[in-house]
Symmetry: C2
Subunit: 314 residues, 2 copies
Amino acid sequence: MFCFGVDIGGTTIKLGLFDLQGDVLDKWEIPTRKEDGGKNILPDAARAVLSKMNERSLSKEDVAGIGVGVPGPVKEDGTVETAVNLGWDFMDVQGTMQKETGLPVKVSNDANVAALGEAWVGGAKGCKDVILATLGTGVGGGLITNGKIITGAHGAGGEIGHMHLIDDFPRACNCGNYGCLEQVASATGITYLAEQALAESQEASVLRDRKVSAKAVFDAVKENDALAIEIAERFGKYLGKALAMIAAVTDPEVIVIGGGVSKAGTVLLDFVEKNFQIYAFTSCRKATFALAELGNDAGIFGAAKMALDAYASR
Amino acid sequence: MFCFGVDIGGTTIKLGLFDLQGDVLDKWEIPTRKEDGGKNILPDAARAVLSKMNERSLSKEDVAGIGVGVPGPVKEDGTVETAVNLGWDFMDVQGTMQKETGLPVKVSNDANVAALGEAWVGGAKGCKDVILATLGTGVGGGLITNGKIITGAHGAGGEIGHMHLIDDFPRACNCGNYGCLEQVASATGITYLAEQALAESQEASVLRDRKVSAKAVFDAVKENDALAIEIAERFGKYLGKALAMIAAVTDPEVIVIGGGVSKAGTVLLDFVEKNFQIYAFTSCRKATFALAELGNDAGIFGAAKMALDAYASR
Protein backbone atom coordinates (compact mmCIF):
# COMPACT_ATOMS: atom_id res chain seq x y z
CA MET A 1 0.00 0.00 0.00
CA PHE A 2 1.20 3.51 -0.89
CA CYS A 3 0.09 7.11 -0.55
CA PHE A 4 0.83 10.51 -2.06
CA GLY A 5 1.72 13.75 -0.33
CA VAL A 6 1.17 16.97 -2.26
CA ASP A 7 2.37 20.37 -1.01
CA ILE A 8 1.04 23.24 -3.09
CA GLY A 9 3.22 26.35 -2.87
CA GLY A 10 3.11 29.69 -4.66
CA THR A 11 5.94 28.72 -7.04
CA THR A 12 6.08 24.92 -7.15
CA ILE A 13 3.92 21.95 -6.28
CA LYS A 14 5.96 19.36 -4.41
CA LEU A 15 4.86 15.73 -4.65
CA GLY A 16 5.98 12.57 -2.92
CA LEU A 17 5.15 8.88 -3.10
CA PHE A 18 5.37 7.14 0.29
CA ASP A 19 5.04 3.72 1.81
CA LEU A 20 3.15 3.17 5.09
CA GLN A 21 6.31 3.50 7.21
CA GLY A 22 7.04 7.03 6.07
CA ASP A 23 9.79 6.22 3.60
CA VAL A 24 9.70 8.42 0.53
CA LEU A 25 9.99 6.31 -2.63
CA ASP A 26 9.84 9.15 -5.12
CA LYS A 27 9.89 12.92 -4.89
CA TRP A 28 9.43 15.53 -7.58
CA GLU A 29 8.13 19.02 -8.35
CA ILE A 30 6.00 20.73 -10.98
CA PRO A 31 5.44 24.48 -11.45
CA THR A 32 2.40 26.15 -9.87
CA ARG A 33 0.37 27.74 -12.68
CA LYS A 34 -1.33 30.63 -10.89
CA GLU A 35 -2.80 32.30 -14.00
CA ASP A 36 -6.58 32.23 -14.67
CA GLY A 37 -7.44 32.17 -10.96
CA GLY A 38 -5.20 29.16 -10.44
CA LYS A 39 -7.69 26.89 -12.19
CA ASN A 40 -4.97 24.57 -13.54
CA ILE A 41 -3.29 23.90 -10.19
CA LEU A 42 -5.38 20.97 -9.00
CA PRO A 43 -5.75 19.32 -12.44
CA ASP A 44 -1.94 19.61 -12.85
CA ALA A 45 -1.37 18.00 -9.44
CA ALA A 46 -3.91 15.26 -10.22
CA ARG A 47 -2.25 14.53 -13.55
CA ALA A 48 1.16 14.31 -11.86
CA VAL A 49 -0.20 11.72 -9.39
CA LEU A 50 -1.94 9.66 -12.07
CA SER A 51 1.11 9.63 -14.33
CA LYS A 52 3.32 8.49 -11.42
CA MET A 53 0.86 5.66 -10.73
CA ASN A 54 1.01 4.72 -14.39
CA GLU A 55 4.82 4.85 -14.44
CA ARG A 56 4.98 2.55 -11.39
CA SER A 57 2.06 0.35 -12.48
CA LEU A 58 0.07 1.19 -9.35
CA SER A 59 -3.68 0.59 -9.39
CA LYS A 60 -6.19 2.59 -7.31
CA GLU A 61 -6.36 -0.36 -4.91
CA ASP A 62 -2.63 0.11 -4.18
CA VAL A 63 -3.08 3.73 -3.06
CA ALA A 64 -4.54 4.65 0.36
CA GLY A 65 -5.14 8.23 -0.72
CA ILE A 66 -3.72 11.66 -1.40
CA GLY A 67 -2.98 14.30 1.23
CA VAL A 68 -2.78 17.91 0.14
CA GLY A 69 -1.27 20.95 1.90
CA VAL A 70 -2.46 24.39 0.82
CA PRO A 71 -1.10 27.87 1.74
CA GLY A 72 -4.20 29.32 3.38
CA PRO A 73 -6.97 28.45 5.83
CA VAL A 74 -8.59 25.10 5.01
CA LYS A 75 -11.82 23.95 6.65
CA GLU A 76 -12.40 20.45 7.98
CA ASP A 77 -14.38 19.60 4.80
CA GLY A 78 -11.38 20.36 2.57
CA THR A 79 -12.61 23.66 1.15
CA VAL A 80 -10.64 26.92 0.98
CA GLU A 81 -12.31 30.35 1.16
CA THR A 82 -9.33 32.09 -0.39
CA ALA A 83 -5.64 31.41 -1.06
CA VAL A 84 -4.07 34.60 -2.37
CA ASN A 85 -0.72 32.99 -3.18
CA LEU A 86 -2.46 30.59 -5.60
CA GLY A 87 -4.91 33.06 -7.12
CA TRP A 88 -7.85 31.14 -5.62
CA ASP A 89 -11.11 32.42 -4.33
CA PHE A 90 -13.37 29.65 -3.03
CA MET A 91 -12.01 26.24 -4.00
CA ASP A 92 -13.30 22.77 -3.07
CA VAL A 93 -9.84 21.21 -2.99
CA GLN A 94 -10.96 17.86 -1.63
CA GLY A 95 -13.89 17.47 -4.03
CA THR A 96 -11.91 18.58 -7.09
CA MET A 97 -8.90 16.37 -6.39
CA GLN A 98 -11.14 13.37 -5.68
CA LYS A 99 -13.00 13.91 -8.95
CA GLU A 100 -9.78 14.35 -10.95
CA THR A 101 -8.04 11.27 -9.49
CA GLY A 102 -10.79 8.91 -8.31
CA LEU A 103 -8.82 8.58 -5.05
CA PRO A 104 -9.69 9.60 -1.49
CA VAL A 105 -8.27 13.06 -0.66
CA LYS A 106 -7.65 14.89 2.62
CA VAL A 107 -6.65 18.57 2.72
CA SER A 108 -5.22 20.91 5.34
CA ASN A 109 -3.22 24.11 5.74
CA ASP A 110 0.45 23.75 4.75
CA ALA A 111 1.85 24.78 8.15
CA ASN A 112 -0.45 22.32 9.94
CA VAL A 113 0.54 19.57 7.51
CA ALA A 114 4.24 20.30 8.09
CA ALA A 115 3.65 19.85 11.83
CA LEU A 116 2.11 16.44 11.18
CA GLY A 117 5.15 15.52 9.06
CA GLU A 118 7.56 16.48 11.85
CA ALA A 119 5.41 14.48 14.31
CA TRP A 120 5.48 11.45 12.00
CA VAL A 121 9.14 11.06 11.06
CA GLY A 122 10.85 14.40 11.88
CA GLY A 123 11.93 16.37 14.95
CA ALA A 124 9.01 15.05 17.05
CA LYS A 125 9.02 11.53 15.59
CA GLY A 126 6.30 9.36 17.10
CA CYS A 127 4.84 12.11 19.31
CA LYS A 128 1.11 12.78 19.45
CA ASP A 129 1.13 16.25 21.04
CA VAL A 130 3.34 18.69 19.18
CA ILE A 131 3.78 22.40 18.49
CA LEU A 132 5.66 23.33 15.32
CA ALA A 133 6.76 26.96 15.10
CA THR A 134 8.14 27.81 11.66
CA LEU A 135 10.33 30.92 11.75
CA GLY A 136 10.70 32.26 8.23
CA THR A 137 9.76 35.63 6.72
CA GLY A 138 6.74 35.30 9.00
CA VAL A 139 5.94 32.88 11.83
CA GLY A 140 3.79 29.91 10.91
CA GLY A 141 2.47 27.30 13.26
CA GLY A 142 1.03 23.84 13.32
CA LEU A 143 -0.56 22.16 16.31
CA ILE A 144 -0.97 18.42 16.71
CA THR A 145 -3.10 17.13 19.57
CA ASN A 146 -3.53 13.40 20.18
CA GLY A 147 -2.08 12.81 16.71
CA LYS A 148 -4.51 15.10 14.90
CA ILE A 149 -4.16 18.56 13.35
CA ILE A 150 -6.02 21.41 15.09
CA THR A 151 -7.91 22.85 12.12
CA GLY A 152 -10.29 25.20 13.91
CA ALA A 153 -13.75 26.42 12.98
CA HIS A 154 -12.52 28.73 10.20
CA GLY A 155 -9.36 26.85 9.19
CA ALA A 156 -7.21 29.26 11.22
CA GLY A 157 -5.99 26.76 13.84
CA GLY A 158 -2.28 27.11 14.54
CA GLU A 159 -1.97 30.72 13.37
CA ILE A 160 0.41 31.38 16.25
CA GLY A 161 2.32 34.07 14.33
CA HIS A 162 -0.66 36.33 14.91
CA MET A 163 -1.01 35.86 18.65
CA HIS A 164 -1.03 39.30 20.22
CA LEU A 165 2.11 39.49 22.34
CA ILE A 166 3.16 43.11 22.84
CA ASP A 167 0.94 46.03 23.85
CA ASP A 168 1.63 49.44 22.29
CA PHE A 169 3.86 47.99 19.57
CA PRO A 170 4.74 50.85 17.19
CA ARG A 171 4.38 49.03 13.84
CA ALA A 172 1.46 47.32 12.14
CA CYS A 173 1.74 43.62 11.30
CA ASN A 174 0.84 42.37 7.81
CA CYS A 175 -2.42 41.16 9.36
CA GLY A 176 -3.33 44.71 10.43
CA ASN A 177 -2.90 44.16 14.19
CA TYR A 178 -0.09 45.57 16.34
CA GLY A 179 2.30 43.47 18.43
CA CYS A 180 1.92 39.99 16.88
CA LEU A 181 4.46 37.27 17.71
CA GLU A 182 5.56 37.29 14.07
CA GLN A 183 6.75 40.90 14.44
CA VAL A 184 9.51 39.88 16.87
CA ALA A 185 10.16 36.17 16.20
CA SER A 186 10.37 35.87 12.39
CA ALA A 187 13.50 36.62 10.34
CA THR A 188 12.04 40.08 9.75
CA GLY A 189 11.16 40.40 13.44
CA ILE A 190 14.66 39.50 14.63
CA THR A 191 16.08 42.05 12.18
CA TYR A 192 13.74 44.62 13.71
CA LEU A 193 14.88 43.71 17.24
CA ALA A 194 18.50 44.02 16.11
CA GLU A 195 17.95 47.44 14.53
CA GLN A 196 16.27 48.62 17.74
CA ALA A 197 19.10 47.35 19.93
CA LEU A 198 21.78 48.86 17.70
CA ALA A 199 20.01 52.24 17.73
CA GLU A 200 19.38 52.21 21.50
CA SER A 201 23.00 51.72 22.58
CA GLN A 202 26.51 52.78 21.57
CA GLU A 203 27.91 49.38 22.50
CA ALA A 204 30.51 47.94 20.13
CA SER A 205 29.25 44.96 18.12
CA VAL A 206 30.33 43.06 15.02
CA LEU A 207 26.79 43.65 13.82
CA ARG A 208 27.61 47.32 13.23
CA ASP A 209 29.85 46.29 10.31
CA ARG A 210 27.47 43.76 8.78
CA LYS A 211 24.16 43.67 7.00
CA VAL A 212 21.71 43.05 9.82
CA SER A 213 19.64 39.86 9.52
CA ALA A 214 18.48 37.00 11.72
CA LYS A 215 21.40 34.94 10.41
CA ALA A 216 23.89 37.75 11.15
CA VAL A 217 22.55 37.98 14.73
CA PHE A 218 23.01 34.27 15.47
CA ASP A 219 26.39 34.17 13.70
CA ALA A 220 27.47 37.01 16.00
CA VAL A 221 26.06 35.14 19.02
CA LYS A 222 28.34 32.23 18.11
CA GLU A 223 31.25 34.74 18.08
CA ASN A 224 30.21 35.75 21.63
CA ASP A 225 29.18 39.27 20.63
CA ALA A 226 27.51 40.80 23.72
CA LEU A 227 24.95 42.92 21.87
CA ALA A 228 23.96 40.01 19.61
CA ILE A 229 23.44 37.89 22.73
CA GLU A 230 21.21 40.64 24.15
CA ILE A 231 19.15 40.63 20.92
CA ALA A 232 18.87 36.84 20.99
CA GLU A 233 17.72 37.12 24.63
CA ARG A 234 14.92 39.48 23.66
CA PHE A 235 13.87 37.16 20.83
CA GLY A 236 14.05 34.14 23.14
CA LYS A 237 11.96 35.88 25.77
CA TYR A 238 9.21 36.72 23.28
CA LEU A 239 9.12 33.31 21.62
CA GLY A 240 9.63 31.35 24.85
CA LYS A 241 6.82 33.26 26.53
CA ALA A 242 4.46 32.75 23.57
CA LEU A 243 5.23 29.02 23.45
CA ALA A 244 4.61 28.78 27.20
CA MET A 245 1.18 30.34 26.69
CA ILE A 246 0.40 27.92 23.86
CA ALA A 247 1.61 25.04 26.05
CA ALA A 248 -0.94 26.02 28.73
CA VAL A 249 -3.57 25.48 26.04
CA THR A 250 -2.40 22.30 24.30
CA ASP A 251 0.23 20.78 26.68
CA PRO A 252 2.71 19.45 24.08
CA GLU A 253 5.25 16.67 24.48
CA VAL A 254 7.70 18.26 22.02
CA ILE A 255 8.03 21.78 20.62
CA VAL A 256 9.70 21.79 17.20
CA ILE A 257 11.32 24.93 15.78
CA GLY A 258 11.67 25.06 12.01
CA GLY A 259 11.96 27.51 9.13
CA GLY A 260 14.98 29.38 7.79
CA VAL A 261 15.78 31.06 11.12
CA SER A 262 16.14 27.64 12.80
CA LYS A 263 19.23 26.97 10.70
CA ALA A 264 21.05 28.84 13.49
CA GLY A 265 20.80 25.49 15.29
CA THR A 266 20.73 24.53 18.94
CA VAL A 267 22.06 27.91 20.09
CA LEU A 268 18.68 29.34 19.09
CA LEU A 269 16.80 26.63 20.99
CA ASP A 270 18.76 27.49 24.15
CA PHE A 271 17.47 31.08 24.22
CA VAL A 272 13.89 29.95 23.61
CA GLU A 273 13.86 27.00 26.00
CA LYS A 274 15.37 28.96 28.91
CA ASN A 275 12.53 31.50 28.69
CA PHE A 276 9.89 28.83 28.08
CA GLN A 277 10.89 27.25 31.39
CA ILE A 278 10.43 30.59 33.19
CA TYR A 279 6.90 31.22 31.92
CA ALA A 280 5.42 27.72 31.50
CA PHE A 281 2.85 26.18 33.85
CA THR A 282 4.44 23.49 36.05
CA SER A 283 2.90 20.47 34.29
CA CYS A 284 3.92 21.82 30.87
CA ARG A 285 7.63 22.25 31.74
CA LYS A 286 8.25 18.62 30.79
CA ALA A 287 7.95 19.57 27.12
CA THR A 288 11.22 19.22 25.24
CA PHE A 289 12.55 21.26 22.31
CA ALA A 290 13.80 19.99 18.97
CA LEU A 291 14.85 21.40 15.62
CA ALA A 292 12.74 20.52 12.60
CA GLU A 293 14.34 17.76 10.53
CA LEU A 294 12.37 17.56 7.31
CA GLY A 295 13.04 21.06 5.95
CA ASN A 296 11.03 21.86 2.83
CA ASP A 297 9.86 18.25 2.63
CA ALA A 298 7.82 18.46 5.87
CA GLY A 299 4.73 19.33 3.81
CA ILE A 300 4.76 16.24 1.58
CA PHE A 301 5.49 13.97 4.56
CA GLY A 302 2.65 15.44 6.64
CA ALA A 303 0.24 15.40 3.71
CA ALA A 304 1.01 11.71 3.12
CA LYS A 305 0.47 10.94 6.83
CA MET A 306 -2.86 12.75 6.75
CA ALA A 307 -3.95 10.53 3.85
CA LEU A 308 -2.85 7.41 5.75
CA ASP A 309 -4.70 8.46 8.92
CA ALA A 310 -7.87 9.09 6.92
CA TYR A 311 -7.48 5.65 5.33
CA ALA A 312 -6.96 3.97 8.71
CA SER A 313 -10.11 5.57 10.16
CA ARG A 314 -12.33 4.45 7.27
CA MET B 1 -29.22 2.80 24.92
CA PHE B 2 -28.08 4.82 27.94
CA CYS B 3 -24.89 6.14 29.49
CA PHE B 4 -23.62 7.50 32.80
CA GLY B 5 -21.79 10.74 33.53
CA VAL B 6 -19.81 10.90 36.78
CA ASP B 7 -18.25 14.14 38.05
CA ILE B 8 -15.94 13.56 41.00
CA GLY B 9 -15.50 16.66 43.15
CA GLY B 10 -13.74 17.29 46.44
CA THR B 11 -17.00 17.22 48.43
CA THR B 12 -19.53 15.29 46.36
CA ILE B 13 -19.64 12.89 43.44
CA LYS B 14 -22.34 13.93 40.98
CA LEU B 15 -23.89 11.23 38.81
CA GLY B 16 -26.31 11.33 35.89
CA LEU B 17 -28.08 8.78 33.72
CA PHE B 18 -28.53 10.02 30.14
CA ASP B 19 -30.10 8.92 26.89
CA LEU B 20 -28.29 9.32 23.56
CA GLN B 21 -29.88 12.73 22.86
CA GLY B 22 -28.42 14.35 25.96
CA ASP B 23 -31.56 14.26 28.09
CA VAL B 24 -30.83 13.56 31.73
CA LEU B 25 -33.15 10.84 33.06
CA ASP B 26 -31.84 10.76 36.60
CA LYS B 27 -29.41 12.86 38.59
CA TRP B 28 -28.06 12.35 42.09
CA GLU B 29 -25.08 12.87 44.39
CA ILE B 30 -23.08 10.88 46.91
CA PRO B 31 -20.40 12.18 49.30
CA THR B 32 -16.72 12.02 48.31
CA ARG B 33 -14.89 9.93 50.92
CA LYS B 34 -11.39 11.36 50.79
CA GLU B 35 -10.00 9.49 53.80
CA ASP B 36 -7.45 6.66 53.37
CA GLY B 37 -5.96 8.23 50.25
CA GLY B 38 -9.39 8.40 48.64
CA LYS B 39 -9.42 4.65 48.08
CA ASN B 40 -13.22 4.40 48.46
CA ILE B 41 -14.06 7.06 45.89
CA LEU B 42 -14.11 4.91 42.75
CA PRO B 43 -15.73 1.84 44.41
CA ASP B 44 -18.43 4.18 45.81
CA ALA B 45 -19.04 5.67 42.36
CA ALA B 46 -19.11 2.22 40.76
CA ARG B 47 -21.60 0.96 43.34
CA ALA B 48 -23.82 3.99 42.72
CA VAL B 49 -23.88 3.23 38.99
CA LEU B 50 -24.57 -0.47 39.45
CA SER B 51 -27.36 0.13 41.95
CA LYS B 52 -29.01 2.64 39.56
CA MET B 53 -28.83 0.03 36.78
CA ASN B 54 -30.43 -2.47 39.15
CA GLU B 55 -33.15 0.00 40.17
CA ARG B 56 -33.99 0.68 36.50
CA SER B 57 -33.51 -2.95 35.38
CA LEU B 58 -30.77 -1.97 32.94
CA SER B 59 -28.41 -4.68 31.71
CA LYS B 60 -24.80 -4.07 30.62
CA GLU B 61 -25.97 -4.28 27.01
CA ASP B 62 -28.21 -1.25 27.62
CA VAL B 63 -25.31 0.96 28.73
CA ALA B 64 -22.85 2.48 26.23
CA GLY B 65 -20.39 3.29 28.99
CA ILE B 66 -19.40 5.57 31.85
CA GLY B 67 -17.64 8.92 31.49
CA VAL B 68 -15.74 10.26 34.50
CA GLY B 69 -14.52 13.79 35.22
CA VAL B 70 -11.69 14.18 37.77
CA PRO B 71 -10.28 17.36 39.40
CA GLY B 72 -6.68 17.09 38.20
CA PRO B 73 -4.60 16.28 35.12
CA VAL B 74 -5.73 13.06 33.42
CA LYS B 75 -3.71 11.38 30.71
CA GLU B 76 -5.19 9.98 27.51
CA ASP B 77 -5.04 6.46 29.01
CA GLY B 78 -7.30 7.45 31.92
CA THR B 79 -4.64 7.55 34.63
CA VAL B 80 -4.05 10.36 37.13
CA GLU B 81 -0.60 11.18 38.54
CA THR B 82 -2.04 13.06 41.49
CA ALA B 83 -5.34 14.69 42.49
CA VAL B 84 -4.79 16.57 45.75
CA ASN B 85 -8.48 17.39 46.26
CA LEU B 86 -9.31 13.69 46.35
CA GLY B 87 -6.31 12.51 48.38
CA TRP B 88 -5.04 10.52 45.38
CA ASP B 89 -1.50 9.85 44.31
CA PHE B 90 -1.29 7.73 41.16
CA MET B 91 -4.69 6.28 40.27
CA ASP B 92 -5.73 4.21 37.25
CA VAL B 93 -9.23 5.67 37.13
CA GLN B 94 -10.22 4.01 33.85
CA GLY B 95 -8.90 0.58 34.79
CA THR B 96 -10.38 0.65 38.30
CA MET B 97 -13.83 1.81 37.21
CA GLN B 98 -13.92 -0.74 34.38
CA LYS B 99 -13.01 -3.51 36.78
CA GLU B 100 -15.57 -2.39 39.38
CA THR B 101 -18.45 -2.05 36.90
CA GLY B 102 -17.65 -4.29 33.93
CA LEU B 103 -18.51 -1.36 31.69
CA PRO B 104 -16.35 0.68 29.28
CA VAL B 105 -15.00 3.82 30.98
CA LYS B 106 -13.50 7.05 29.61
CA VAL B 107 -11.86 9.62 31.91
CA SER B 108 -10.81 13.25 31.56
CA ASN B 109 -10.14 16.38 33.59
CA ASP B 110 -13.29 17.96 35.06
CA ALA B 111 -12.85 21.33 33.33
CA ASN B 112 -12.30 19.65 29.95
CA VAL B 113 -15.35 17.46 30.51
CA ALA B 114 -17.46 20.52 31.37
CA ALA B 115 -16.41 22.09 28.03
CA LEU B 116 -17.61 18.97 26.21
CA GLY B 117 -20.93 19.22 28.07
CA GLU B 118 -21.41 22.85 27.04
CA ALA B 119 -20.51 21.88 23.44
CA TRP B 120 -23.05 19.04 23.51
CA VAL B 121 -26.21 20.62 24.90
CA GLY B 122 -25.13 23.89 26.61
CA GLY B 123 -23.94 27.37 25.61
CA ALA B 124 -22.12 26.05 22.51
CA LYS B 125 -24.72 23.41 21.61
CA GLY B 126 -23.76 21.46 18.51
CA CYS B 127 -20.40 23.20 18.03
CA LYS B 128 -17.19 21.26 17.41
CA ASP B 129 -14.61 23.97 18.17
CA VAL B 130 -15.14 25.55 21.57
CA ILE B 131 -13.26 27.31 24.35
CA LEU B 132 -14.81 27.15 27.83
CA ALA B 133 -13.37 29.58 30.37
CA THR B 134 -14.67 28.90 33.88
CA LEU B 135 -14.28 31.93 36.13
CA GLY B 136 -14.55 30.82 39.75
CA THR B 137 -12.10 31.06 42.64
CA GLY B 138 -9.54 30.31 39.92
CA VAL B 139 -9.80 30.19 36.14
CA GLY B 140 -10.35 26.77 34.60
CA GLY B 141 -10.47 25.97 30.96
CA GLY B 142 -11.59 23.31 28.56
CA LEU B 143 -10.77 23.18 24.87
CA ILE B 144 -12.75 21.23 22.30
CA THR B 145 -11.32 20.87 18.80
CA ASN B 146 -13.22 19.03 16.08
CA GLY B 147 -15.51 17.68 18.79
CA LYS B 148 -12.71 16.23 20.94
CA ILE B 149 -11.14 17.32 24.22
CA ILE B 150 -7.55 18.61 24.05
CA THR B 151 -5.96 16.42 26.74
CA GLY B 152 -2.30 17.16 26.13
CA ALA B 153 0.79 15.05 26.72
CA HIS B 154 0.68 15.41 30.52
CA GLY B 155 -3.07 15.87 30.99
CA ALA B 156 -2.63 19.65 31.32
CA GLY B 157 -4.47 20.65 28.11
CA GLY B 158 -6.80 23.60 28.68
CA GLU B 159 -5.00 24.96 31.76
CA ILE B 160 -5.64 28.48 30.49
CA GLY B 161 -5.79 29.96 34.00
CA HIS B 162 -2.04 29.55 34.14
CA MET B 163 -1.15 31.24 30.87
CA HIS B 164 1.43 33.90 31.64
CA LEU B 165 -0.23 37.21 30.86
CA ILE B 166 1.41 40.03 32.83
CA ASP B 167 5.13 40.69 33.19
CA ASP B 168 6.42 41.97 36.54
CA PHE B 169 3.21 41.07 38.36
CA PRO B 170 3.79 41.73 42.09
CA ARG B 171 2.08 38.62 43.55
CA ALA B 172 2.72 34.91 43.15
CA CYS B 173 -0.04 32.70 41.73
CA ASN B 174 -1.02 29.47 43.51
CA CYS B 175 0.99 27.68 40.82
CA GLY B 176 4.16 29.54 41.80
CA ASN B 177 4.41 31.70 38.67
CA TYR B 178 3.77 35.45 38.49
CA GLY B 179 1.20 37.12 36.24
CA CYS B 180 -1.11 34.20 35.35
CA LEU B 181 -4.50 34.90 33.75
CA GLU B 182 -6.17 33.49 36.87
CA GLN B 183 -4.66 36.31 38.96
CA VAL B 184 -6.75 38.94 37.15
CA ALA B 185 -9.74 37.09 35.69
CA SER B 186 -11.01 34.87 38.51
CA ALA B 187 -13.33 36.04 41.31
CA THR B 188 -10.20 36.54 43.41
CA GLY B 189 -8.47 38.30 40.51
CA ILE B 190 -11.31 40.75 39.93
CA THR B 191 -11.33 41.53 43.66
CA TYR B 192 -7.60 42.25 43.38
CA LEU B 193 -8.16 44.55 40.38
CA ALA B 194 -10.89 46.36 42.34
CA GLU B 195 -8.70 46.84 45.41
CA GLN B 196 -5.93 48.22 43.19
CA ALA B 197 -8.28 50.65 41.43
CA LEU B 198 -9.82 51.84 44.71
CA ALA B 199 -6.36 52.45 46.20
CA GLU B 200 -5.02 54.22 43.13
CA SER B 201 -7.71 56.89 42.86
CA GLN B 202 -9.86 59.08 45.13
CA GLU B 203 -12.82 58.77 42.78
CA ALA B 204 -16.22 58.29 44.40
CA SER B 205 -17.68 54.83 43.94
CA VAL B 206 -20.44 52.75 45.51
CA LEU B 207 -17.75 50.08 45.92
CA ARG B 208 -16.16 52.15 48.71
CA ASP B 209 -19.16 51.36 50.95
CA ARG B 210 -19.40 47.66 50.09
CA LYS B 211 -17.46 44.48 50.61
CA VAL B 212 -15.38 44.25 47.45
CA SER B 213 -15.96 41.13 45.33
CA ALA B 214 -16.41 40.21 41.68
CA LYS B 215 -20.17 40.24 42.22
CA ALA B 216 -20.02 43.68 43.87
CA VAL B 217 -18.02 45.03 40.90
CA PHE B 218 -20.53 43.85 38.29
CA ASP B 219 -23.50 44.93 40.43
CA ALA B 220 -21.93 48.40 40.55
CA VAL B 221 -21.36 48.29 36.77
CA LYS B 222 -25.10 47.74 36.35
CA GLU B 223 -25.63 50.84 38.54
CA ASN B 224 -23.37 52.74 36.10
CA ASP B 225 -20.62 53.31 38.67
CA ALA B 226 -17.67 54.83 36.74
CA LEU B 227 -14.91 53.21 38.79
CA ALA B 228 -16.58 49.79 38.61
CA ILE B 229 -16.79 50.19 34.84
CA GLU B 230 -13.07 50.99 34.77
CA ILE B 231 -12.35 47.81 36.78
CA ALA B 232 -14.52 45.73 34.45
CA GLU B 233 -12.64 47.26 31.50
CA ARG B 234 -9.32 46.11 32.93
CA PHE B 235 -10.71 42.62 33.55
CA GLY B 236 -12.20 42.55 30.03
CA LYS B 237 -8.92 43.64 28.49
CA TYR B 238 -6.99 40.86 30.25
CA LEU B 239 -9.47 38.09 29.54
CA GLY B 240 -10.32 39.31 26.02
CA LYS B 241 -6.64 39.45 25.14
CA ALA B 242 -5.95 35.99 26.56
CA LEU B 243 -8.90 34.49 24.69
CA ALA B 244 -7.71 36.16 21.47
CA MET B 245 -4.33 34.46 21.95
CA ILE B 246 -5.98 31.10 22.56
CA ALA B 247 -8.16 31.66 19.49
CA ALA B 248 -5.01 32.10 17.34
CA VAL B 249 -4.08 28.59 18.49
CA THR B 250 -7.39 26.70 18.28
CA ASP B 251 -9.70 28.98 16.20
CA PRO B 252 -12.99 28.37 18.05
CA GLU B 253 -16.52 28.79 16.74
CA VAL B 254 -17.90 29.73 20.17
CA ILE B 255 -16.27 30.93 23.38
CA VAL B 256 -18.30 30.01 26.46
CA ILE B 257 -17.84 31.84 29.77
CA GLY B 258 -18.92 29.94 32.87
CA GLY B 259 -18.28 29.72 36.59
CA GLY B 260 -19.63 31.81 39.47
CA VAL B 261 -18.35 35.11 38.03
CA SER B 262 -20.36 34.56 34.83
CA LYS B 263 -23.58 34.96 36.83
CA ALA B 264 -23.05 38.69 36.20
CA GLY B 265 -24.54 37.86 32.80
CA THR B 266 -24.21 39.43 29.37
CA VAL B 267 -22.76 42.67 30.76
CA LEU B 268 -19.62 40.68 31.55
CA LEU B 269 -19.49 39.20 28.04
CA ASP B 270 -19.61 42.72 26.56
CA PHE B 271 -16.38 43.78 28.26
CA VAL B 272 -14.62 40.58 27.20
CA GLU B 273 -15.90 40.42 23.63
CA LYS B 274 -15.05 44.07 22.85
CA ASN B 275 -11.42 43.43 23.81
CA PHE B 276 -11.33 40.04 22.10
CA GLN B 277 -12.25 41.79 18.85
CA ILE B 278 -9.36 44.24 19.28
CA TYR B 279 -6.69 41.58 19.77
CA ALA B 280 -7.92 38.62 17.71
CA PHE B 281 -6.44 37.55 14.36
CA THR B 282 -8.78 38.46 11.49
CA SER B 283 -10.00 34.92 10.73
CA CYS B 284 -10.73 34.28 14.41
CA ARG B 285 -12.96 37.35 14.90
CA LYS B 286 -15.95 35.35 13.68
CA ALA B 287 -16.02 33.52 17.02
CA THR B 288 -19.10 34.32 19.07
CA PHE B 289 -19.49 34.52 22.86
CA ALA B 290 -22.03 32.73 25.03
CA LEU B 291 -22.70 32.18 28.71
CA ALA B 292 -22.44 28.63 30.05
CA GLU B 293 -25.88 27.07 30.46
CA LEU B 294 -25.36 23.84 32.38
CA GLY B 295 -23.95 25.28 35.62
CA ASN B 296 -22.72 22.60 38.01
CA ASP B 297 -24.21 19.88 35.80
CA ALA B 298 -21.80 20.57 32.90
CA GLY B 299 -19.48 17.87 34.25
CA ILE B 300 -21.98 15.01 34.22
CA PHE B 301 -23.25 16.04 30.77
CA GLY B 302 -19.74 16.19 29.31
CA ALA B 303 -18.71 12.94 30.99
CA ALA B 304 -21.74 11.20 29.50
CA LYS B 305 -20.96 12.61 26.02
CA MET B 306 -17.39 11.37 26.33
CA ALA B 307 -18.69 7.86 27.04
CA LEU B 308 -21.02 8.06 24.03
CA ASP B 309 -18.23 9.25 21.71
CA ALA B 310 -15.99 6.41 22.87
CA TYR B 311 -18.85 3.97 22.22
CA ALA B 312 -19.48 5.40 18.73
CA SER B 313 -15.81 5.07 17.77
CA ARG B 314 -15.59 1.41 18.81
